[in-house]
């Protein structure tokens, strides 16, 4: 069993065979940095718990394609902030399947949004002048058809 410590001090136990879905953890184990426990200062407890839920499910139900598909679909039904936290964790922990799933989810969200909605979701300030924005939209008329 591997012990993982989140940034806010929570402790989690997980089977090594499951944990190595994270390439980051896998390398730490190989480099013998995992004697007592592995500190993960970039991931908080709530997010780490979710990530572990994902990799546990993907380890135990490895061959059940349909089951994993519906699990994944439900898994990403979280609020925006949590989704972003999971993406960052998946990136830091280098878990390809989870990273693909969450990035694709955000990409699918963006697809249907207007410019204003994208700004709202990502909290981006509009730094164009009205003239600049009008010209840019005109140059990209093909995108607004």
């Amino acid at each position: 069993m591997i012990v993982l410590n989140s940034s806010d001090g929570a402790t989690f136990e997980v089977e090594e065979s499951v944990a190595v879905q994270s390439q980051t953890i896998k390398h730490m184990i190989e480099d013998n940095c995992a004697d007592t426990s592995i500190p993960l200062p970039n991931v908080n407890g709530v997010t780490l718990a979710r990530v572990l839920e994902y990799i546990k499910k993907h380890a135990e139900a490895k061959d059940d394609e349909e089951g994993l598909k519906s699990f994944d679909a439900e898994f990403v039904k979280v609020d925006q902030a949590s989704l972003f936290e999971i993406i960052l964790a998946a990136n830091y922990l280098d878990i390809k399947g989870l990273l693909d799933l969450t990035c694709q989810t955000v990409a699918d969200q963006i697809k249907d949004l207007t410019v204003e909605e994208v700004r709202a979701i990502f909290n981006i300030m509009n730094d164009f002048t009205p003239e600049e924005e009008a010209k840019l939209r005109n140059d990209h008329a093909w995108a607004f058809e």
Partner: protein
């Protein structure tokens, strides 16, 4: 990449209109590679919109490195877009793009048509030559054998005009090809020219001229020791492929020009192909494989596919036959694993399932008029056909266009 971009997060405003409590105070920043990972998956139109979000976003989403990452992801999607030219008070043509929708959608349509306002009513005898990386090469002939060349991105509607090779004789028979050289990140247009009048003794070979998009110039790279067919080449796996006839025994061959080293090689012919070599044939790319269409009659085509590139034994054939009241022109692209989109003489597309050997008409919203043969599949991409260079500037068609054909 030059600009730094950070993504800060906040909670989405929920349906009740109330702002949730935890706003940006604990918002982490996304590293650039994550932003690229997410946005590479977004379709081109949404990227166009997102460029209008802010200046850093415009910078990042216009950066050539991002465009490349986006292209790499989208090149592997099954080809869902095709370009067709519709006659409009001939001899001019209008270009339209047909997008096939995935069958899991809610609508009953198999696809929809979008009219492109590129070169409206200005294309005379347009020939769609080829496509790669989302760019399409279109030639127009204004009453002479000498074409004007347009390189366009049908997704972003960008367009650039080139002059043909100045080295080609006026009366020469020509065929063309378009491809990409990954070793120098350059697009190349190839002209094969062959002068029948002078070639009574067959001592004049076909010449090969190559245009480099980066330099904006034509070079004659040598001779083509075959008789080229009139069809345009198809680009696949770093080479442009043409059908040609051997001068020695008159047999049909498949010739590939590697766009990087600019060398020709011959590809293996399907061994069990018994059709006479002077029959009507055409190359096509289907599902990432080289395909050869043999037109046996208006109601019967054989389609060969080289399942493993370069391996002669991997040629497999499927046959398409139609009843007497319909005629088939040939396959356009694969949709998913087993569905082939066929262009039927007339004005429709049919999807043919290879496993079940069934055919059904496709319902494409917006198709009303007949369209020409020579449709081409293209990928969605953000690649710009306009190359900014100190030495050479692209001529935009507005500069010197004549309105009459």
């Amino acid at each position: 990449m030059e600009s730094e971009i950070t993504l800060t997060m906040s909670l989405k405003i929920d349906a009740s209109g109330e702002m949730p409590v935890a706003m940006a105070d604990s918002a982490p920043d996304f590293p650039q590679e994550l932003i690229i990972n997410i946005f590479s998956r977004v379709q081109a139109k949404s990227i166009g919109k997102c460029r209008c979000v802010s200046k850093p976003w415009r910078s990042l989403l216009s950066d050539p490195l991002f465009i490349k990452a986006h292209l790499n992801l989208h090149l592997h999607h099954p080809q869902k877009h095709i370009l067709i030219s519709i006659p409009h008070s001939p001899p001019s043509y209008n270009l339209s793009a047909v997008t096939f929708t995935t069958t899991s959608g809610s609508s009953n349509n198999d696809g929809f048509l979008e009219k492109l306002t590129l070169l409206e009513n200005q294309l005379c005898f347009a020939e769609i030559v080829g496509s790669c990386n989302g760019l399409v090469l279109v030639l127009t002939f204004k009453g002479s054998n000498t074409p004007t060349m347009y390189l366009m991105n049908p997704t972003t509607r960008e367009l650039v005009k080139f002059q043909p090779s100045p080295l080609v004789w006026d009366d020469a028979e020509t065929s063309y090809g378009f491809g990409y050289d990954s070793s120098s990140d350059d697009y190349k247009i190839v002209t094969l020219s062959h002068d029948w009048l002078l070639d009574k003794t067959e001592s004049y070979p076909a010449f090969v001229d190559v245009f480099s998009w980066r330099t904006g110039t034509w070079r004659r790279i040598g001779c083509f020791p075959y008789v080229p067919s009139s069809h345009s080449g198809v680009f696949l796996n770093g080479s442009i492929h043409w059908l040609a006839l051997s001068k020695i025994d008159g047999l049909c061959v498949i010739i590939a020009l590697d766009t990087s080293c600019e060398q020709f090689q011959q590809l293996p012919w399907p061994e069990t192909d018994n059709t006479p070599h002077n029959g009507s044939r055409k190359l096509v790319v289907l599902g990432g494989c080289l395909g050869m269409v043999v037109v046996q009659s208006r109601h019967h085509v054989d389609v060969w596919m080289m399942k493993e590139y370069g391996v002669g034994e991997s040629w497999t054939k499927f046959i398409v036959t139609t009843p007497k009241n319909a005629s088939v022109w040939g396959p356009i692209c694969l949709l998913g694993g087993d569905d082939v989109v066929l262009q039927m003489g007339g004005k429709n597309f049919v999807v043919h399932n290879l496993k079940e050997r069934t055919m059904r008409d496709m319902v494409i919203a917006g198709i009303r008029d007949k369209f020409r043969r020579g449709v081409i599949g293209f990928s969605e991409s953000l690649v710009s056909p306009i190359f900014n260079s100190q030495q050479w500037r692209a001529t935009l068609p507005e500069d010197d266009f004549e309105n009459s054909c």
